[in-house]
Symmetry: C2
Subunit: 212 residues, 2 copies
Amino acid sequence: VRLYGYFRSSATWRVRIALHWKGLAAETLTVDLAAGAQHRPDFLAVNPQARVPTLVDGPLVLTQSLAILEYLEETRPRPPLLPADAAGRARVRQLAQIVACDVHPLQNLGVLLQLERSFGASEEQRRAWARHWIEQGLDALERWIASDGGGERFCHGAAPTLADLCLVPQLFNARRFGAAPERWPALSRIEAACLQLDAFARTAPATQPDAR
Amino acid sequence: VRLYGYFRSSATWRVRIALHWKGLAAETLTVDLAAGAQHRPDFLAVNPQARVPTLVDGPLVLTQSLAILEYLEETRPRPPLLPADAAGRARVRQLAQIVACDVHPLQNLGVLLQLERSFGASEEQRRAWARHWIEQGLDALERWIASDGGGERFCHGAAPTLADLCLVPQLFNARRFGAAPERWPALSRIEAACLQLDAFARTAPATQPDAR
């Protein structure tokens, strides 16, 4: 498989973790979002939506990180990233989507740029906007996890799932925007457990070849 | 099953279509978002995140519409809302997530209120913001569908899938915010095919008991 991504893209990081966890050797190609490389003709020929991550598997070109993760889970099921029971899978998807639908889309680089264009938002205002959605979403995640006991090693049970793949990169973003992770004791404990695993630690933004 | 929702919530509409399509009788309960009913203690006891849709199935309480749709698909697989092959499922999830991750979160009521609070955005500015993301996302959807030929009856093949369940409510929102659906000929043609089906037409906002 071939993965187009960017070291700091948290949606790309989700996919890097899954590839590492499943032991898949992927050719990784950098799309330098900060330099606007997603708008260059060679990348637009791969993904006309100009977004990363983009995964190429034979003739299949896939975007949207959660769709990519479900595809990897279906085609390379071992070791799994979803629980074996339907109720467990539903809970994991719900936790993952709190990050992927309620938080991440609102603190994307594209959204922050649009706030500047539309409302003249200053850098401090853009950071406050991002923190607002991060805190609201991760507060909800902390509450769901605590409501189920919160004593498990990962978001759901004793092994990492798609929920952890979304959580850890989002906590990385939370720090970038000045949120204090101590606000979420259960999430912080889960993050520490995840970062003991190579699949999370060795795919972190700072370890990537294109990191700056 | 019990569904907490609101007639105008497009994420709730997605779930209403799936329940109807699969022939599931659901008790539906209105959470009047315009009146702030999602913040009342009786609803917070069900869903502390104060969001609809929320589905209750026995002891299981589920939020996040895409997680609910995947759960219904796994537990009530007939008639299906996902294709039989992994590549097809990946494509359908990708198309659904363009709506659910790139468009819908940015034109939510909560986001528009926050634009007013943070930047004093006027109603016309809020509508322009919503249209910006709707047009960008549906342009991408139109392009992906056209790139695969675009001659099929629905987003993917000859039967509706999760992608159509996301598309039709999003086009409803597009009109509310003043976008012109003629901009997307393939999507408009698919919408017309969907609305010939009871599962789409009879679950539309205007047909709901709580419609105003």
